[in-house]
Structure formats: C-alpha cells, structure tokens
C-alpha cells in the first residue's frame, strides 16, 4: 500500500500517457517511492531553490533567478541572540562526526548530526575525512572577527547566501541542526582549544 | 553436489598451500536485527584440514572470525593428486566439509 502525496498524485493524473518526459518525472517519483517510518512523500517535493539547482551539469540557470535565490537565502539567516556564536567545541566534535539523522533508518528522537567529516577535513588527527568540500583544518586561524563569525554562521545556516547551488545542506534554514548544535560547531571551528586548531607535530 | 566450502590446494616446492572459503554467517550474538531483536550467536567453532585423511591442522574459532570465513594453511609432504579436505562444525552442531585434489 503506497501513500502518495496529493500534490504528486494530481500532477500524475494530469500527466496521463503520451506526454513529454518532463511531465513523467513527478509520475515516476510518485509511483516509485513510498512513505516509510517517519519519512513521508513530501520529501520529494522541491522548493524553488532545489528545483533551480536540479539542472544537469553544464546547463546555465537564469541569473535573475539566481540572485533572487541568493537574496532569499541571505534573508533567511537567523543570528543568535547577542551574537553569542561560540558554544562547546567538544559537543561540536560530536555533531561533526555524527552522520545520522532524518534517514528512514534513523531514530527520529535522537539528535541529528552535521556529518561534517563526510566532506571536510577538520581535526588533523582524523584520517577518515571526505573531500567534497574544502579542508577546514586550522579554521580558527582564518580570523576571529565579528565579520568572520557572521560569515561562518551564515554558511552553516544557509550556504546558498554565498554560493547558490552549493552541495552543502542548509543546516539552519531547514532545521537539520539546532541553534545550540550550530554554536557548538562554531566552537569546534574557532575555539583555540579545539582539535581543529591544533597543529600536528 | 559439492558442499559449501571452496578449496584450492596447490604445490609450491615441497609445500602444499591450501586456501578455503566457507559459507557461514559467523554471527556473534551481539548484533540486533532491524526489529531490535538479538540475532542468535551462530559461528563455526572447529575447523580441521586433512591430507589423505591425516589431520594437518586443527583449529578452534570464536565468533570474531569474519563472515564467510577464509582460511589459508600450508603443510609439507603433499603430492599432486592427493586429497585435501576441510571440515567445520559450528556452535549449533551443524557441519560441512569440502575436498579437493592437490594440483
């Protein structure tokens, strides 16, 4: 028994047979996936940013749309009260290492992870880091100014404010991480005592 | 039909190299299935290698040997055409054996 989102069903019924391939995309999605555990079919619906960023490589997007999305992303950022950016780096390390959260195999009651190591190098002693994103080793040395703190918070909250169609998740804007978890990640990046900012002998 | 052990026995000078692959889940008893129930311990406890029905190696295993176990042993005195057997017994009492001839 498949539970489908009404929206997709509607599109599918409109699509019917013999229409172009583009029209068959929602139909294929609606008939191929099913809701499971806490993951519903709404996950398949795209917001304007996701739709804009779904173009095959090499296809240029509309530049007016791109700047509108950038502005919207920038406007979405919620800064912590009193610009109190820095939490606990040790808890931040846990968030950076945890790859779970929001998969149908995950416990919805457990905190989500940031999975930073999947894509970034951070602590120089951790060898199991990915390279989809740039290395963030020694990040604290890039500066501790208010501008730097706000820039980094914005990247974590909604990366598209600086780089539309970046591969990085919108950890704040889509509620993947809590404000406290983001502060802890900030500490992991900036705190001079954080392993990220220790040099390897 | 052959059992679920694959064996290769090859001469290298005066040494016979035996490599065997066995079909077994090697469950530790510490894992849980998706429903959260413990998967019972199920692992090979004892493995014997014979050459023309004489034991050349006998072993006891714990559940820390990996699933679908691989075993490589070497002995002297084998001749091409001799029979090499590998036998196991697991913690449930099930057994299997496979044999090959030395090449």
């Amino acid at each position: 028994m498949k539970k489908r989102v009404a929206h997709l069903l509607m599109l599918a019924s409109l699509a019917g047979t013999g229409l172009t391939q583009a029209d068959s995309l929602p139909e294929a999605l609606g008939s191929s996936f099913e809701a499971i555990n806490h993951v519903d079919m709404g996950r398949l619906q795209r917001d304007p940013l996701q739709e804009f960023c779904s173009k095959p490589r090499g296809q240029a997007g509309d530049s007016a749309m791109e700047s509108a999305l950038r502005d919207e992303a920038m406007a979405s950022v919620v800064f912590p009260e009193g610009d109190d950016f820095i939490g606990d780096w040790a808890r931040g390390a846990e968030v950076a290492n945890n790859g779970r959260g929001l998969q149908y195999s995950d416990d919805p009651e457990a905190p989500n992870g940031g999975n930073c190591y999947a894509c970034h190098q951070l602590d120089p002693t951790e060898v199991a880091y990915g390279n989809l994103g740039p290395s963030l080793m020694g990040y604290g040395a890039r500066g501790q100014s208010e501008v730097m703190l706000r820039y980094t918070w914005t990247k974590l909250w909604n990366t598209h404010a600086y780089n539309v169609c970046s591969h990085m998740p919108r950890f704040g804007a889509l509620g993947i991480l809590t404000e406290q978890q983001l502060k802890d990640l900030m500490a992991y990046l900036f705190d001079p005592d954080s392993p990220v900012n220790q040099s390897i002998e | 039909m052959a059992g679920k052990i694959r064996i290769r026995a090859q001469l290298d000078g005066d040494t016979c190299e035996v490599k065997a692959l066995m079909r077994h889940p090697m469950e530790t008893g510490l894992r849980k299935n998706q429903a959260g129930d413990a998967i019972p311990a199920h692992y090979i406890e004892e493995v014997t290698v014979t050459h023309n029905d004489q034991v050349v190696m006998h072993s006891y295993w714990g559940a820390a040997v990996s699933a679908n176990p691989f075993l490589g042993v070497r002995f002297a005195g084998g001749q091409a055409g001799d029979t090499v057997k590998v036998m196991w017994r697991d913690n449930t009492g099930a057994t299997d054996e496979g044999e090959t001839t030395i090449r």
Binding site: - | E45, T50, M57, S66, P69
Partner: protein, 158 residues
C-alpha cells in the same frame, strides 16, 4: 523472502549432517587428546585475562611475521597473516590470533602437527582501532608479535 525457503539447499544441509563425526573418527586419537578447547582463553574479556588463561604472557619475538593492514576499510573483515621464521622460533605447536579491544580478544587458535608450516591466513572482525596479536606457542613457551590496525568509519556515516 528469505533464502532459507530454498528447499533444495536445506535438503543438502541435512544430508551433510554426520559427515564431520565420521571424519573426526578417522583422526588419530593421540592427536585429539592433545587438542582441547581453551574455553577460558576464548571467554576472557581483555588481553591480560587471555594471557592468564593461556598460563603465560608471551615474550616479543622477531620470529613471528605478522601481517595486517595499517588501516582497514571495514572492521568486519580484516585480513591477517601469521608466518613464523623457524630458524628464529622453532617448534611451533599452535598459533593464536587476538584482537585487543574485541569483547573477547581471542579470535582463533590453530594447532599444527609435524609437517604443518607455522603459517595461517584468515580474516577477523576488529570492533575498533586497536592492537592485533599473533601468538605462537612453542616447545619453549609463548611468543608474540603485535600490530595496530586502524578501523575507519564508512561512507555516509549512517
């Protein structure tokens, strides 16, 4: 559908029951009398306990050539190879594989008879980054070599 439903395969399993008993019966009794399972060593939960159950803490020996990967892609399957240089360490009767931080460090014990090379290759589970031990029991006591294997986290982290 689970594969146990394959009636053909299940039938074959039944046919094989008892073969082991027959084969064991063909083994010289003298040998079997010397091989009893060191249950306490398999049940020990740390290295000290494992060595205590064997009766001796092994001495380091360069005669044991122990090969494991420095870093394993998956801890569920870590290849290991133990080879003993008989000119340095003669009279090997048994080889043991131990994984320091597993719930029970003892993974396997291999008994050799005369003519069997002191050589074993297998794959073991390594729960977390730790030392692996290759122990040789010889006519003159226990010897060992150890090596650390790093176990890394897998792909997407979940």
């Amino acid at each position: 559908m689970k594969r146990e439903s394959g009636a053909g395969i299940a039938r074959r399993g039944l046919l094989r029951m008892g073969i082991f008993v027959a084969a064991v019966a063909a083994v010289p009794t003298k040998l079997w009398a010397t091989i009893t399972k060191p249950s306490a060593a398999f049940a020990a939960t740390d290295m000290d306990g494992t060595f205590a159950a064997l009766g001796q803490t092994p001495a380091e020996s360069a005669g044991i050539i122990f090969t494991t990967p420095d870093i394993a892609e998956n801890g569920a399957v870590v290849p290991i190879k133990i080879e003993v240089d008989e000119s340095l360490l003669p009279g090997v009767r048994r080889l043991y594989v131990m994984v320091e931080k597993n719930p029970n460090p003892m993974a396997a014990m291999f008994s050799m008879i005369e003519g069997t090379r002191p050589y074993v290759e297998t794959r073991v589970k390594v729960a977390q980054t730790c030392n692996l031990y290759a122990v040789a029991e010889t006519d003159s006591g226990f010897y060992m070599a150890s090596k650390e294997t790093k176990v890394t986290l897998g792909g997407c982290g979940g």
